[in-house]
Structures are given as structure tokens and as C-alpha cells.
């Protein structure tokens, strides 16, 4: 099995290097953000502390996080605004998780959604790291299959069509522009640390890097004639394409300086167990090498039906979440949740064991926002979610607490508070209102 630990053994002490570089040189300590999405939510009594106030014992699902109890903050009572948009909460929760936007279908055939929390940070921190952000998932989104009667005269998409996008993406660039996650650990590794072999060898690689932008210029510049007949909206898309392509080309031209060699890439796997572990190892590497400071990760897709056969049973996760209070189903559901939470705990421990070059560890500067898809998978509800924050950003967040929030208020209250904690205040973040859940701030 490919793990970060094993990789460290191979790479020697190279890992400490980059943090002494860019990150340590900055005048302000760098902060980091990880969103960690849990499909189908968590079974409440094994995940939410039974009382508000200081945390005494952790609920059973999170038992392995006990060493970090003082750096955990539970926030309960908020409503994921996206759940309002559909009869089925699965459709809206993921897309709204970091944006707070409920579904809106426009007349011009585009999916509306706001910029997501991670991308607000990415805009503010633009250029500080080689990759502004990294989107990962251990399960590809659903191809949407929805069919419609030809009974509509409306221009543009029908509500369900837009819902497909909401059900598929956690991170959004801006109104209506989703950022799909990478699903293959090996592909993510290559994005971070380069390809095993550059086709054409080293000399060719150097020339390709040198010529990169002129290759793009040669086809982008004479586009005017082609775009003349396009609408302003379509022209904008072409411009977005060319701008993004130039940025990605530039990223490829600047290799990582972390000392991880392409030969250390994780082997391809079909085991979900290995996949999830590889993704967590990569997240640790990406942060410790300071390749990026922002990661969004989904351990499974929204409404995931994946079986976890290595736990000794083959029921679909989604089916088990509709346990109808049957004890044997709840028991299996809890095994899945515990396994997922244990992967998260291992990741947290890894961060806490990685020095940050300032005398602390990566965990001191990282906040992990645990994002449950639903507050109750059995009932498909999303009105009283418990968000879990791990890491207190060097004391900026009031941790060791279970904090009550105004019942059924939008979870954007929490996201706005976190933006303040990051020093990127945006009190009008989200579609409506300006409230901030200041009780989570120290």
C-alpha cells in the first residue's frame, strides 16, 4: 500500500524544505483550508455531542479524534440552504455546501450558483502557491440520467437539469462555474509533482516549456474572426477557456520544488480502501509541500451507493442510511461512518506530525471543515446540521466546544464567520443576509 509514511521513507527529509521556503518567508503565517465532504451524512447520536458547551467525551464515530478534542468545534442547528431547493435533499446539498446558494434556474440556460468558500480564499491568496486550489474526490459524480416530457416551452434547462450540476460539484469558481474534482490519485499526484515520463525527454520538455505560451498564442490570437458570430455570453466562454488554458500551461511549466520524484507516484488501485488512503496521503503532501493551501475533498459522491466490502458486508451506503431504525442496518451504517472518520483522524494526525517550519505543526495553521451531506440520512433532512471544525487556526476559532447556532438559520452564517477567521472578511458572502456566527470566533 502506498502511504505518505512510506513515501517519506523514500524521500528522506526533503519534506521539511519547502515550508522553510515560500511559506515561512511570508510575514503573516500561512493559513490552510480543507473541506471534507461526507456523503449521506452521519448517524446523529454517534456524531453529535449530546450537550452544548465544552466537549467532554467524543461521540463514538469520532473516537479516534480524541487526542485533538481541544481543537475541535462542533456547530449545530444550522440549515444547509441548498436543501431547500428540491424535494430530495440529496440534489441540493453538495452544490450549496460551500456556496450557500439555493438552486436558481435562469432563463439563459446556465446553472446559477455562487462562488464557493474555498474559491473566495483562493482568490484572496492567488499566486501564493503553485496551485491556487486542489479538488479531489474518491468517487466520480453521477452521470445524471433524467428524462423529460416534451411539455415545456421554456427556454433553457428544466430544474432537474441544473440539479445535476448541484449534485456533482463541491467547489465553484463563480456564478455557475463548477470545478470538477480529480478522481485518480495518480493523476492528482502528477498534477502536483509532475509526470513519470515527459513524452520526448528532458531537452524536449525544456523547449516545450519555453514555447508553451507561443503555442497557445498561435491559435488564440487569430480567433477574432471565429468569435465574431458568437453571442457575448459565448465569447466570454471562449475567453475563459483561453485564460484558464494559459494558467494551467504556466503551472505545468513551473514544476514542484518539493523533492518528490515522479517515480514515487501511487500505484493505480481498484480498492476503495487504498484509494481513500492514497487521497489523504496526497492531501498531506500537497499541504506540507505548500503546493496549495486549499483543498476540497469528497470521500464519496453525493448520495453515494458505494458498498464498503472490506468491512465485511456489501450493502449500499445510501441504502443503509435509510435504515428505518432497524438495528442491523444502523450497525452497518455506523461501521462505514466510523471507517470514514478514522481515515479523517489519520489525516489529522499526519498534519499534526508534520512540522510547519515555525516551531509548530501543519495542524496549527489548517482548518478542516467536515461537511455532512445531510443531518439525517434516514429522513433526508438538512435543517439541523452539525458541522465539525478541526484545527482552530492558531486560536482564531473557539475550540473544544459544541456551539449552538440559531435554529434553521442558513449555514452561510458559519461560512462568513470562518472568512473572518481567515482574515478575508466578506460579510455579504452567500445569496442573502449578512449575519455572522461570531460565537465560533475567539
Amino acid at each position: 500500500m502506498w502511504t505518505r509514511r512510506q513515501l517519506l521513507g523514500g524521500a528522506g527529509a526533503a519534506l521539511a524544505m519547502p515550508l522553510i521556503g515560500r511559506a515561512a518567508e511570508a510575514t503573516k503565517p500561512p493559513l490552510r483550508f480543507v473541506a471534507w465532504f461526507m456523503p449521506n451524512g452521519f448517524y446523529r447520536t454517534a456524531y453529535r455531542p449530546s450537550t452544548f458547551g465544552p466537549i467532554s467525551t467524543l461521540p463514538s464515530t469520532l473516537a479516534n479524534l480524541s487526542p485533538y478534542k481541544d481543537r475541535l468545534t462542533f456547530v449545530s442547528g444550522l440549515r444547509n440552504a441548498g436543501a431547500d431547493l428540491a424535494e430530495d435533499a440529496h440534489w441540493g446539498s453538495l452544490g450549496a455546501m460551500l456556496t450557500g446558494h439555493a438552486l436558481e434556474v435562469s432563463a439563459t440556460a446556465s446553472v446559477k450558483n455562487g462562488q464557493s468558500f474555498d474559491q473566495v480564499l483562493a482568490s484572496a491568496w492567488r499566486g501564493l502557491t503553485r496551485l491556487n486550489s486542489l479538488e479531489l474526490s474518491s468517487e466520480a459524480p453521477w452521470p445524471c440520467s433524467v428524462v423529460f416530457q416534451p411539455d415545456s416551452d421554456r427556454e433553457g434547462p428544466l430544474p432537474f437539469e441544473s440539479l445535476c450540476a448541484y449534485k456533482s460539484y463541491l467547489s465553484w469558481d463563480g456564478p455557475g462555474r463548477p470545478r470538477p474534482a480529480m478522481i485518480e490519485p495518480r493523476a492528482a499526484f502528477e498534477r502536483l509533482f509532475g509526470r513519470v515520463d515527459h513524452p520526448g525527454g528532458d531537452e524536449a520538455r525544456a523547449r516545450r516549456v519555453m514555447l508553451g505560451q507561443s503555442i497557445l498564442d498561435s491559435v488564440m490570437q487569430p480567433l477574432n474572426k471565429w468569435t465574431r458570430n458568437l453571442s457575448s455570453h459565448d465569447r466570454e466562454r471562449v475567453e475563459q477557456y483561453t485564460t484558464m488554458l494559459r494558467e494551467v500551461e504556466a503551472t505545468l511549466a513551473t514544476p514542484s520544488t518539493c523533492g518528490i520524484t515522479p517515480a514515487q507516484a501511487p500505484p493505480t488501485t481498484t480498492s476503495i480502501e487504498t484509494h481513500v488512503q492514497q487521497m489523504h496521503a496526497l492531501m498531506n503532501l500537497a499541504l506540507s509541500c505548500d503546493e496549495t493551501r486549499i483543498i476540497t475533498y469528497s470521500i464519496g459522491r453525493a448520495g453515494s451507493e458505494r458498498p464498503y466490502q472490506h468491512l465485511g458486508f456489501s450493502d449500499s451506503h445510501h441504502n443503509l442510511s435509510h435504515h428505518a431504525d432497524r438495528p442491523e442496518h444502523i450497525q452497518r451504517l455506523l461501521m462505514i461512518e466510523r471507517w470514514c472518520a478514522d481515515q479523517l483522524s489519520d489525516f489529522v494526525r499526519g498534519l499534526d506530525e508534520t512540522p510547519d517550519g515555525r516551531g509548530g505543526t501543519l495542524l496549527d495553521s489548517t482548518l478542516i471543515l467536515v461537511c455532512p451531506e445531510l443531518d439525517d440520512g434516514n429522513l433526508h433532512t438538512n435543517q439541523d446540521v452539525t458541522y465539525l471544525l478541526i484545527g482552530n487556526l492558531g486560536g482564531r476559532i473557539r475550540s473544544g466546544q459544541h456551539i449552538p447556532a440559531p435554529h434553521s438559520a442558513s449555514h452561510t452564517l458559519l461560512l462568513r464567520a470562518l472568512l473572518r477567521a481567515y482574515g478575508v472578511p466578506q460579510d455579504d458572502f452567500g445569496p442573502t443576509g449578512t449575519g455572522v456566527l461570531t460565537s465560533v470566533l475567539s
Partner: protein, 692 residues
């Protein structure tokens, strides 16, 4: 049902469409403008082409065998089809572009080489000598399956120059599960060139992909006789073993390095001699091939202003020390990175009617999921592919030609996959204690059969309703196990079969559909019912009420059908389930990999009879198939789904006229008829742009 001549009837349907749009009797240019006023035509935002189309386009454009697109993120879709353009990014993201840059670099590396190359696809040889073509396991183009005892295979290779060539053959052998372990490897192969044995290979087993077997041989300029001679090892095989004991052959590839320091380069499918070095020499020799590549990649004429910067990049790469082939690669990369290649839509002319080139683009994209071929491009160049065009460049003639061409495999490779949600089989798992034989090869066989069912209906121009109730099936060793047929065939080795019991009719009783609608450890009558209502009847049920607990019976303890009855007793549930359940319950006789079973795990006999809301009794799978085959909505539902796949959006009210024409007013319609009717319609030919 009988096959019909749709080429004649399509014309009739076209006049219906025209008549419905405009009542003036004589076709005239103003009428063309009016054609595009049809409200339904609508506007689609610009978006990139889907992963499959990008991959197939690069393969066809550069003459490469297989482009790996598995890392490209799947864009969010509308209407269940990946080619529909919806999300506001147009499907473009950092993740996509990162992978796209990698794909383009690798494809250019493979396509531009200082070598001459000839590729012979053995599966497309005119004389196969008893061997069979089969669809490969993981999808893609057909391969040759070469059975034990088959004679040698002869064909001609036309070499552009004489001398020493390197050859390789893609091959692997495969043993099905019926074959005893002590049976020897099936054969050695000899490669004979112009009557002389040049190499003898021992072919290895490989279950995932074909391996390359190398040889070196002198070839003469012009025609060379190539023979592949098998030496089958003496062995006694049972019939079952014989079927599971095959050699799979892919391409024979011949390459000849062009002289060291020379200036001859293979650019995609062309060999170019750049002659002696000198000012402008490189530009002069690549301008032709680069212009032709760009024209086909961008599906439109390329002006000198567009071409010049690409040629300049090639020249400056050369000036900075790159070998000639590397320099040319950067030009190929530029062509593939242009939004004109990546994006779907070519702007129409000012009146909204697609011009000849845009029409060639539309047809190749819709029917082949690829770029136009030379024939389509020359039709476009000569102003064909318009309603006024006659003869071989008329829309009708081209559509008919295209549907018989290899590229039309998009319909069975892609349409049916998306229509019936067979993508669910991609990473499907089964509980090994319940389904010990289930593995990746099982789902590949399932998908192959589903493709074959559609392929034959398309090629023989049979009514689309044959999808529902035709008895033709194709099985290999895996499917023989599932269908309880006498064992036959190896992997990739589909042989025709009819179910003697008459239960397996149409694609809905295929293992592919039955498994795609099941879970790891059980079937789901509800899921199957919803899938039929949604995809076959186009009458999707509403979502469950918010607080409805999901129906998850434990088959080991209770009879799922009893549990379903109880569920339906609740009036809230009954509203939808009285329509869903009778579609799914009759298929309960098939387990989660599509095998027939008699009872549930708790010992209860499975009762597959059900009652429709109108009181009609459905008495098992045969009865369900009969019900659907005679249901008036099924054909029009297939037309709706096909329309969505072709058009890139769901139908609206204003498309009803076209949908009616596609179903031929109630007479059985074939895929060919439906597709041609669509291609002639204003919906296909007009692309009104959004108002500024």
C-alpha cells in the same frame, strides 16, 4: 415486424416537417430563412465536446489507435446525455485543461515521427478466412478473433518505399473458464512476408490488452504479400473449450525509420519529404499537411492568417534546436488546443441556417462523435449538405453512408450506454458470497452484448422497437453461464443465440440492463421499474415524499415482494408505486447479475405477476415485454431519447412535430429513418444564436 426501406419514407417525413413549418408550396430562399424561425430551434450555449467525442476525434484525425480519455472529468449533463451543453463553464475547468494538455502532448508525440508508417487493422480485412470480428472488451474498435484450427490469414501491405521495415502485430490469447489447465498454449504464429518466413512468435496470454510482437523484414516498394500462419498445437478440445480458446489480433503496424538526419516526417497519416534545408523550406513542406489537419480538426476552411502563426511556432521551435519532428508536433498541439477543436459549435451563417461546413460538423459530431471524414469535407467544400443538394452530397445520402460506416458504432457504444444507464456497470461490484463468478469480464461481456443487439438493429435497418422484443441474442462464455445456455465463445467471442424458453427477448432482459439496475447484494424491483418508466416509457415517477423511508428489504429475512405490497398499502407510496412496481416485479425472476432464479434467499418462490394501474395483468417477463412492445409510447420515447442524444438538448413542445415525424406516424421506424428525419429537420439545420 418487418424491415422497411426508410430511405424512401424519410423523404415523405421531411415534406411533412417542411409543410408544418411553412405553407408556401415552392421551396425558395426566403423559405429557408423562415425555416429557422421555428421556435423550437432555440439556442444552445457554447460548450466543449464530451470526452468520448474528443478522444474519437483525435484518433480519427491523427490516425492513432487509442486515446485514453479516462482521466478527463465528466462534464455535468443535461437530460442524461453527456453531449448536452449545460453547465455554465461549458465543461471547461482546470482539471479538464490539465489532462487535455497531457493528452494533446502524447497524441502529438505519437502522430508526428520521423518514420513511415502503415497500419493494417486486421478486423477490417475483406477476407477473414473463418476468423470473426468482435467488439473488444473495454469498448472501442472491433478486433479479430481467431479460432483454434483456423487457416492462415493473407493480405497485402502497400509500402511507400522499399528497404528494412519494423513490423509488429498486436496479439494475445485467452482461455475461457471452461478450458482445462493442462491444455497447451494454443499456437505459435509465423509471419511470412513475400513468401519468406521472417519471424516466429509464441503468443502469450493477456487478459487485459493485446501485446506487441516485433519483427524486422525487407519490404519492397508497392504491394507486399503478408501472411500470418498459425501453428495450432495438437490437442483434443471439447466444443466448449474450442469456443474459449482463441487468439485475439489487433493491428499489424509497419514502420520504417526515415534516414537519420534526413528530412522526411510522418505527420498523422501523411508522409512528407521536406527536401534540402534552406530558408522557408520547413514552412513550405509542412504547410499542406498542417492546413489539412487544421481544416478537419476545426471543421472549416483555414485562412492564411490563421495558418501563419502555427507555421511560425514550428519554425521558431526548429530555430531553438528542436529536431524537425518535434517542431512539427508543436504545430499539431496548437491545432488541438484551439477552442475551435475543443468546442462543439461552429457559428452559423447570419440567417441562422448552418452552412455546408457547419452541417458536416453537426453530422459527424451527432452520428460519429468525431470529426468529419474527407468525403464530408469535400461535400462541404463543394457547397453540398444543404436542402437543395442532390446526389451523393445530399444530406440524406450522406446520413445513409455515415450510418453504415465504422464511426456509426457511436450509436451502440454511446447512445445505448447512456440511454439505459449501462455506465452503472463500469465499476459495478457484487457480493462474492452471492455472485462468486462475477467480475470485470462479466460486465464487459454484458456491455458487448447490449452493443451488439443495437448494432444489428442499426445495420439491418430494423425497427427500433426490435430493441424491446427481438429474440436475437449474442453470448460468450460469461453470458452462457448467466443465460444458462450451453457454453460457447471465449471473451470477445459473441455468437448468436436464441433463448429456447422464449424468456430472453429484447434488451430489457439482457444481463446488461438487469445488472445495471441492481446492487451489490440484491435486485431492486423499484429501481428497475423506475428505469423502465423513465427511459422506455418517458413517464418518470416523481421523487419520493421527503420523509419516506427508502424501501430496503432484507431478502434473507423477508420476501421483498411482500414488503413492497406493504409499502404500496400506504396511500402516499401507492401514488407512484402502483405504476413503478408492475414494471419491476415481473423482472424479479432475474437476479442481480441477470440469471434466472426460482426463489428468494428466504426460500419464498418469486411471484412475478403484477397489475398495472388500469387493471391490466402482467404475468412475468414475457408478458411485460409484450406489453411494452405494443405500448404506443415506447417508440416515441426512444425517439425523444435519440433526439436528445443527437440534438444536445431535451425536446420541447415545439419539437413535437419532429418527434412525430421521427416515429413515422405510427408505422415502425428504424434508427436510420429517425436519424435521417432529424438531420433534415430545422432543429438540426438551424442554430439560432442567443440575442445579444
Amino acid at each position: 415486424m418487418t424491415a422497411r426501406n426508410w430511405s424512401l419514407t424519410a423523404g415523405t417525413a421531411l415534406s411533412l416537417v417542411l409543410a408544418s413549418c411553412d405553407n408556401t408550396p415552392e421551396p425558395s430562399p426566403p423559405q429557408e430563412a423562415a425555416l429557422c424561425d421555428v421556435q423550437s430551434v432555440g439556442a444552445l450555449p457554447l460548450g466543449r465536446r464530451d470526452n468520448l467525442t474528443l478522444g474519437r476525434s483525435v484518433e480519427d484525425l491523427l490516425g492513432l489507435p487509442h486515446i485514453n480519455i479516462s482521466r478527463l472529468p465528466t462534464p455535468s449533463t443535461a437530460s442524461g446525455f453527456t453531449n448536452t451543453r449545460l453547465d455554465a463553464s461549458g465543461g471547461v475547468s482546470d482539471t479538464f485543461l490539465n489532462e487535455w494538455l497531457n493528452i494533446v502532448a502524447e497524441a502529438s508525440l505519437a502522430a508526428v515521427r520521423r518514420e513511415e508508417r502503415r497500419i493494417i487493422d486486421l478486423a477490417s480485412l475483406p477476407e477473414l478466412n473463418g476468423a470473426r470480428t468482435t467488439i473488444p472488451l473495454g469498448g472501442g474498435r472491433p478486433r479479430l478473433s481467431y479460432m483454434h484450427g483456423s487457416p492462415s490469414l493473407s493480405f497485402a501491405l502497400d509500402a511507400p518505399s522499399g528497404g528494412e521495415w519494423q513490423l509488429y502485430l498486436e496479439a494475445a490469447w485467452w482461455l475461457g473458464w471452461e478450458v482445462e489447465e493442462n491444455i497447451p498454449d494454443p499456437s505459435d504464429l509465423e509471419l511470412v512476408v513475400n513468401g519468406k518466413i521472417v519471424e516466429k512468435w509464441t503468443i502469450e496470454a493477456d487478459y487485459d490488452s493485446l501485446r506487441r510482437y516485433q519483427a524486422v523484414s525487407q519490404l519492397r516498394k508497392g504491394v507486399n504479400e503478408i501472411e500470418i500462419v498459425p501453428h495450432w498445437k495438437e490437442t483434443q478440445l471439447t466444443q466448449a473449450e474450442w469456443f474459449s480458446y482463441a487468439l485475439l489480433l489487433g493491428d499489424l503496424v509497419a514502420t520504417k525509420p526515415l534516414s537519420e538526419g534526413g528530412r522526411t516526417v510522418q505527420i498523422a497519416t501523411e508522409t512528407v519529404d521536406c527536401g534540402p534545408e534552406g530558408p522557408g523550406a520547413l514552412r513550405d513542406c509542412v504547410v499542406g499537411p498542417i492546413e489539412r489537419l487544421a481544416r478537419r480538426a476545426w471543421r472549416s476552411p483555414v485562412s492564411p492568417e490563421q495558418l501563419d502563426p502555427i507555421l511560425s511556432v514550428i519554425e521558431s521551435a526548429k530555430a531553438s534546436g528542436a529536431p524537425i519532428e518535434e517542431a512539427i508536433r508543436y504545430g499539431v498541439e496548437a491545432i488541438l488546443l484551439s477552442p475551435r477543436f475543443v468546442f462543439l459549435q461552429t457559428p452559423p451563417s447570419s440567417d441562422g441556417l448552418l452552412d455546408s461546413f457547419a452541417m458536416a460538423d453537426l453530422l459527424s459530431n451527432a452520428l460519429w462523435r468525431s470529426v468529419p471524414d474527407d468525403t464530408l469535407l469535400s461535400c462541404a467544400e463543394s457547397g453540398g449538405l444543404t436542402p437543395a443538394s442532390e446526389g451523393s452530397c445530399s444530406i440524406g445520402d450522406q446520413v445513409r453512408r455515415m450510418l453504415q460506416a465504422p464511426g456509426a458504432d457511436a450509436l451502440h457504444a454511446d447512445f445505448v450506454n447512456q440511454w439505459l444507464g449501462l455506465w452503472r456497470l463500469d465499476k459495478a461490484e457484487r457480493d462474492p458470497t452471492l455472485y462468486p463468478h462475477f467480475g470485470p469480464e462479466t460486465t464487459r461481456s454484458m456491455r458487448m452484448e447490449a452493443r451488439r443487439i443495437v448494432m444489428n438493429i442499426l445495420h439491418d435497418d430494423r425497427p427500433v422497437l426490435d430493441l424491446i422484443d427481438a429474440p436475437d441474442r449474442w453470448i460468450d462464455s460469461e453470458l452462457a453461464r448467466i443465460y444458462d445456455a450451453s457454453p460457447r465463445g471465449g471473451p470477445d467471442e459473441l455468437t448468436p443465440w436464441h433463448d429456447p424458453a422464449g424468456v430472453r427477448l429484447g434488451i430489457l432482459t439482457s444481463a446488461a440492463f438487469l445488472a445495471a439496475t441492481s446492487q451489490a447484494n440484491r435486485t431492486s424491483p423499484v429501481h428497475r421499474g423506475v428505469a423502465l418508466l423513465t427511459n422506455v416509457l418517458c413517464a418518470p415517477p416523481g421523487p419520493p415524499a421527503p420523509d419516506t423511508p427508502l424501501f430496503v428489504p432484507d431478502e434473507h429475512k423477508v420476501n421483498p415482494l411482500d414488503a413492497l405490497d406493504a409499502h404500496r398499502a400506504d396511500p402516499t407510496c401507492a401514488a407512484c408505486h402502483q405504476a413503478i412496481d408492475p414494471m419491476g416485479v415481473p423482472l424479479e425472476i432475474f437476479d442481480a447479475e441477470g440469471r434466472i432464479r426460482g426463489e428468494y434467499a428466504n426460500g419464498d418462490v418469486i411471484n412475478t405477476s403484477a397489475e398495472l394501474p388500469n387493471g391490466t395483468q402482467i404475468l412475468g417477463p414475457e408478458s411485460l415485454v409484450q406489453h411494452l412492445a405494443s405500448h404506443p409510447d415506447v417508440e416515441s420515447c426512444i425517439a425523444q431519447r435519440l433526439f436528445t442524444w443527437l440534438q444536445g438538448r431535451s425536446p420541447r413542445n415545439a419539437d413535437n412535430e419532429l418527434l412525430k415525424a421521427m416515429t413515422n406516424g405510427g408505422s415502425p421506424a428504424s434508427f436510420g429513418f429517425m436519424i435521417e428525419t432529424w438531420a433534415q429537420s430545422p432543429q438540426a439545420r438551424c442554430q439560432v444564436r442567443p440575442v445579444e
